[in-house]
């Protein structure tokens, strides 16, 4: 069987996942493939999602490298310059040609620059490992910076910079943060939490122009006429799919490369597109999970393997931000039963939509533990409690009642778990004359397992010594405390 030649353009997280899935799937099916990857960036594949974590000091650049593929020709620093569809050949920046049976475009997306830098230094983005290095070098304590855009990445980055004591201002065009995902109430709670963490937030404004000195940015003038000092401005105003290559090859593109449900171009089925550069029927998501799902599907198809069995929901978004928890899942449809808990004083706001006994959407701000439960309930389609509000107040962990006092403890309560000894048994032993822990142990075996109930038994002894009237009478007359009742 002649191998199916696959050329992958780009080596980001989705491309990497695709190659990995393809390797596993062909190992199962035995179908031969020949895979070439044109990496573009001068690095081996890395985990781009973690860049904001590196800024926050919670991840290391060196730790972002993704596993190397076996038996795959990966060319780093080599980009594709043209796709010749008539000859089914990709031309690369080294002048080499790669014949393909399927070319997989995974070129990703580039940052959108919503302003004119006017040649000033200090205007940046956060998309590559090099961007990340530059930002870390620039992020010194007290330095004023503007994060342009209050979406997911903007907030993650602002929180990351704040951990380095940067004076961060988020400038956001819409009237509330993350307007694509959040309702105004939740967004307000997010904003207040950010401000509590020392991040300034300017909403409903744009950067009109940048001011500079000696070729460097010094401040930004906003559309409301106010000026914000900043010597670094980081654009986090969304991304634009990289489709130049596809467009030049004559493939149909809109926002991204237009593909069908099979991830293949509607113009030419030997061209596939996955991840941020692709525009499937449901539109561009700009998230990792749909890209990974596309990768798995396409890999299975090429390998002749069964399609990925479980369709995991891929509309769960978890913000990776130091000092702020935001988790979104599904869609809060006002037509469904919507339950809300809002508690801005501690930065908490939970909104839950339920329909037909299952969770259909939720927005969780400042409640990581509850969000974790909701995600597992949502993703598995598990039935919700009769009163869905119960999902908003309890953590999974069982309640731990405070240790009861010897007095308030019911007589039937087990004091020594290891040996199944109740308070009543200990009280009876005490009445029978076992007044020390050792005597109680000899009589009841309490404390003789793990020993964890020693304090509790001691407490009961003390309490008994106080309340047992027969003991009181005797103590008035006797001196030794070891008197036993016979």
């Amino acid at each position: 069987m002649t191998p199916h030649r696959v050329v992958v353009v780009g080596h980001g997280m989705v491309a990497h996942r695709f190659v990995d899935d393809l390797t596993r799937a062909t190992r199962r099916t035995g179908r031969p493939v020949e895979v070439t990857v044109l990496g573009g960036e001068p690095h081996t594949a890395y985990n781009r999602l973690m860049l904001s974590e590196v800024i926050a000091g919670r991840a290391r650049l060196a730790g972002l490298t993704l596993p190397e593929h076996e038996d795959v020709d990966v060319r780093t620093g080599v980009s594709a310059v043209a796709v010749d569809r008539s000859r089914q050949v990709v031309h690369d920046s080294d002048g080499a040609q790669h014949s393909y049976d399927t070319v997989v475009l995974a070129t990703g997306a580039g940052p959108r620059m919503p302003l004119d830098a006017r040649g000033l230094h200090g205007v940046k983005a956060l998309r590559t490992i090099d961007d990340c290095r530059e930002l870390i070098a620039a992020a010194s304590p007290g330095r004023p910076m503007i994060v342009l855009g209050g979406g997911l990445l903007g907030i993650e980055l602002a929180c990351g910079l704040r951990t380095r004591d940067v004076e961060v201002t988020i400038v956001h065009r819409a009237d509330h943060l993350m307007e694509a995902q959040l309702d105004p109430t939740s967004a307000d709670v997010v904003r207040n939490q950010l401000e509590r963490n020392g991040i300034r937030v300017r909403l409903g404004v744009e950067v009109d122009r940048l001011e500079g000195e000696s070729g460097r940015v010094t401040s930004a003038v906003l559309s409301d006429g106010n000026s914000v000092a900043a010597d670094i401005v980081v654009a986090c105003a969304g991304v634009t799919p990289r489709i130049e290559l596809a467009r030049a090859a004559g493939l149909q593109t809109r926002r991204g490369v237009v593909v069908g449900n099979d991830c293949r171009s509607i113009t030419d089925a030997s061209v596939a597109a996955i991840g941020d550069c692709a525009e499937p029927p449901e539109g561009c998501a700009g998230l990792l999970a749909p890209g990974w799902r596309q990768a798995a599907m396409l890999a299975a198809e090429i390998a002749g393997d069964l399609p990925p069995a479980e369709h995991r929901t891929d509309d769960v978004i978890q913000l990776k931000a130091a000092g702020l928890s935001v988790v979104l899942l599904g869609r809060v449809d006002p037509a469904h039963r919507v339950v809300r808990l809002s508690d801005d004083s501690i930065g908490r706001c939970l909104t839950l939509a339920v329909d037909d006994g299952v969770v259909t959407g939720a927005v969780c701000v400042g409640a990581a533990d509850i969000a974790a439960d909701l995600v597992s309930t949502y993703e598995r389609g598990l039935p919700v409690p009769l009163d869905p509000a119960q999902l908003l107040v309890r953590a999974v962990a069982g309640t731990s009642a405070p240790a009861p006092s010897p007095r308030s403890m019911p007589a039937s309560a087990t004091v020594c778990r290891c040996n199944g000894v109740t308070k009543q048994a200990i009280v009876e032993a005490h009445v029978d004359g076992a007044h020390s822990v050792e005597q109680i142990a000899a009589r009841t075996r309490a404390t003789t397992g793990c020993g964890g109930c020693r304090d509790a038994v001691q407490g009961i002894c003390q309490w008994m010594a106080e309340v047992d009237p027969s003991l009181h009478d005797r103590n008035m007359h006797a001196t030794g405390s070891e008197t036993s009742v016979s």
Binding site: K320, Q390, R417, T448
Partner: protein, 697 residues
């Protein structure tokens, strides 16, 4: 007064037995592992000696289908003729043997020898396959040797952090909890369990953190912790460079498991993941901590991806530089009384004494020489338990099965299928002292002594050799297994003699183990009389309390880090089966319950199986405390009484696997097995739960 150890779990608490007018009395004895403690099982263990349904004579099924007392000769005749017939029909493998992790070292060893040279079958395996096999496979791969705890249990006391993955030792071996006092005082106990078990509750009041994952996701959780250690720059780079191989691949795999992704898979909040990682990192010796331990139990291991999960736990320990350092390490908490020794001396399908492979020509030569047979006469590797049991009574499969110290009719996964296979045999021989569920299915039942009636050695969870001593004589008609095998071997015309004196057997075992991984060669009963602790390998009178201090037992002396295989085999929940069934033990009972269900005090304390259901789930399903619920999986169903508990995740229900005559929960569990270890998927399967109404009395 006789000094011995408890009959039950691998902690092997020290006890003193005294015989008086009312029978045998138990007193706890001070010892490093139990520090003078005993749980209720230990305290009441002597009650089993006078179990009213104790088997005291050989029994054989008669024409009417009843088990009736017979003479030993009649029983032997029946066994020998059936063995001959089966082997005449399908060859040597027409007979199979199923052993147990509760047998003494002497018996585990002799059972392996009996199978290989008296029965000449390769088909022997044991219930430890349901217990320790995943940890054993992962430990052998990583360290070159599998000793549950490669350090004394007491060492835990000095650590700043202990991570317990899927172990409920507060219920399964209560006296061991004392060794967690130090780490709890310092706030460093981390317990991973989908239930807020008694052990998980030990993290309360600032003693540590409880991570409550979705069942079957421990593997991802552990990779997430590796990720956090690496990304925090907290890996012990010097240790990894010097003592570990294969690390880079693990590091790059872990790069893919960032906390938010792990949270989504496991249901554990990111903040809790970070807290756990921070505790481990600050406890790690290279960060100036007092030390840290990573310990796994059956909750992590009894899955079809159990070996991979243990591998991830070992990877985490390696990242922190723990194994092979005094005061730190990785270990697994062995379950059965002789679960350690039982897996070292030849009960396993692929194994010869000394924890050596039956395919290793050198080991074969040596063991054949000790046994006085020709190497070529030793059979090869057999089948792991689930496969072996599934082969019973099928065309070309075994027609005779010997069961020793095990109750697979209850303890096997998809137990109804196991019982079907047992019923398909021509002859089922069960050696037991009580009529266990398996014994009741047998054609021949042979009465054997209990722990207080026999001599021998046990190897505890920390690889320490212990003496089990006789306090009372067994009932007159009871015969020791060593004698039974010797007598059967003779009747089967085995060319060599089988020793019947435990001391003599032990000496032979020690010779056979020489040069193996579990090398006992310098041990003997006299040495065991001295107070010095003796941990294997015993190549000198000192033993080896701590392994790996200088090198690991791998060919290059380095620990081998492996990328765990990420296939999660747990049945996925869905609308038709929206709950995970978890199984486990309760404090008062042990394994299938064959022993503890005959101890009146224990039955009073925990009389019946029940299904624990979260109140929110119970409300949705229309279940109340005390009502009956039917639990249904793809394989079977069971009815149990409901106990409400908010100690579970709401999508989980919990049922103990001890059989009390009512709820045989392993009829529901998943027989899918681990590709490396053969461990079945006991711990989690997908079920539906509904009200069952009242069952007619």
């Amino acid at each position: 007064m006789v000094d011995t150890h408890c009959p039950y779990c691998a902690l092997q608490c020290a006890m003193t037995l005294s015989v008086g007018a009312d029978g045998v009395a138990v007193q706890p004895r001070d010892f490093p592992t139990n520090r003078g403690g005993l749980c209720q099982k230990g305290w009441t263990s002597a009650q089993l000696l006078s179990a009213p349904d104790r088997i005291t004579t050989p029994l054989m099924r008669d024409a009417s289908g009843e088990l009736r007392p017979v003479t030993w000769e009649a029983a032997y005749d029946r066994i020998v003729s059936s063995v001959r017939a089966a082997q005449g029909a399908v060859g040597a493998d027409g007979v199979a043997v199923f052993g147990g992790g509760g047998l003494t070292n002497e018996k585990a060893y002799t059972l392996g020898k009996f199978a290989r040279i008296a029965l000449r079958t390769r088909l022997i395996d044991y219930n430890g396959r349901f217990c320790m096999s995943s940890a054993a496979a992962a430990g052998n791969r990583a360290f070159g040797v599998d000793r549950g705890l490669p350090f004394p249990l007491e060492d835990l006391g000095g650590a700043d952090a202990v991570l317990l993955v899927g172990s409920n030792l507060a219920d399964t071996m209560p006296p061991s909890v004392v060794h967690l006092d130090g780490v709890r005082r310092r706030g460093g106990l981390i317990v991973v369990d989908p239930r807020r078990s008694a052990t998980a509750a030990l993290t309360e009041n600032g003693s540590g953190v409880h991570l409550q994952p979705i069942p079957g996701t421990d593997l991802v959780l552990l990779l997430g912790l590796v990720h956090l250690v690496l990304q925090g720059g907290a890996a012990d780079e010097a240790y990894l460079a010097e003592r570990v191989s294969g690390w880079d691949a693990v590091a790059t795999e872990a790069a893919l498991w960032w906390p938010e992704r792990v949270s989504r898979e496991t249901g554990i909040p990111v903040s809790a993941l970070r807290q756990a990682a921070d505790l481990l990192v600050s406890a790690a010796p290279h960060r100036g901590g007092r030390g840290a331990y990573v310990l796994t139990g059956r909750g992590a291991e009894q899955h079809a991806h159990g070996t991979a999960t243990v591998t991830a736990a070992i990877d985490l320990a390696l990242a922190l530089g723990l194994p092979g350092r005094p005061g730190s390490g990785y270990g697994c908490l062995t379950g059965q009384g002789n679960g350690q020794g039982g897996r070292e001396h030849g009960q396993k399908a692929d194994q010869l004494p000394g924890y050596r492979s039956i395919t290793d020509p050198v080991a074969r030569q040596q063991v054949a020489a000790v046994w006085g047979v020709d190497e070529a006469d030793l059979p090869g590797a057999g089948l792991p338990a689930v496969e072996l049991l599934d082969r019973l009574g099928r065309p070309g499969g075994p027609r005779v099965l010997f069961v020793h110290g095990a109750n697979p009719a209850v303890s096997g996964p998809d137990a109804a299928r196991v019982r079907d296979r047992l019923a398909a045999l021509d002859l089922l021989v069960v050696c037991d002292f009580v009529p266990s569920e398996t014994a009741r299915l047998a054609d021949v039942v042979l009465p054997v002594p209990q722990w207080a009636e026999e001599e021998g050695t046990m190897t505890s969870l920390e690889g320490r050799l212990l003496r089990r001593r006789r306090a009372v004589e067994p009932p007159a008609e009871v015969r020791d297994e060593l004698r039974i095998w010797a007598e059967l071997a003779q009747r089967l015309d085995t060319p060599v003699r089988f020793a019947t004196d435990p001391r003599e057997v032990f000496e032979e075992l020690c010779r056979a183990s020489e040069g193996g991984l579990a090398d006992y060669s310098a041990a003997n009963y006299d040495l065991l009389e001295s107070v010095t602790p003796l941990h294997w390998p015993v190549t000198s009178a000192d033993g080896t309390p701590r392994l790996f201090l200088d090198r690991f037992a791998t060919p290059d002396g380095r620990a081998r880090a492996s990328v765990p295989d990420l296939v999660t085999a747990t049945e996925r929940l869905g609308p038709d089966s929206p709950l995970h069934l978890l199984t486990g033990r309760v404090l008062q009972h042990y394994q299938s319950g064959a022993q503890t269900s005959r101890v009146p005090d224990l039955v009073r304390a925990a009389p019946r199986s029940a299904v624990q259901v979260h109140p929110v789930t119970a409300q949705r399903l229309g279940l109340d405390e005390g009502s009956l619920a039917r639990i249904t999986s793809e394989r079977g169903d069971a009815v149990a009484r409901v106990v409400l508990s908010d100690h579970l995740r709401p999508e989980c229900v919990f049922v103990p696997f001890h059989f009390d005559g009512e709820v045989l929960i392993n009829d529901l569990t998943d027989p899918a097995t681990d590709p490396v270890s053969g461990m079945p998927q006991f711990k989690a399967c997908a079920v539906q739960v509904a009200p069952a109404g009242e069952v007619p009395a």
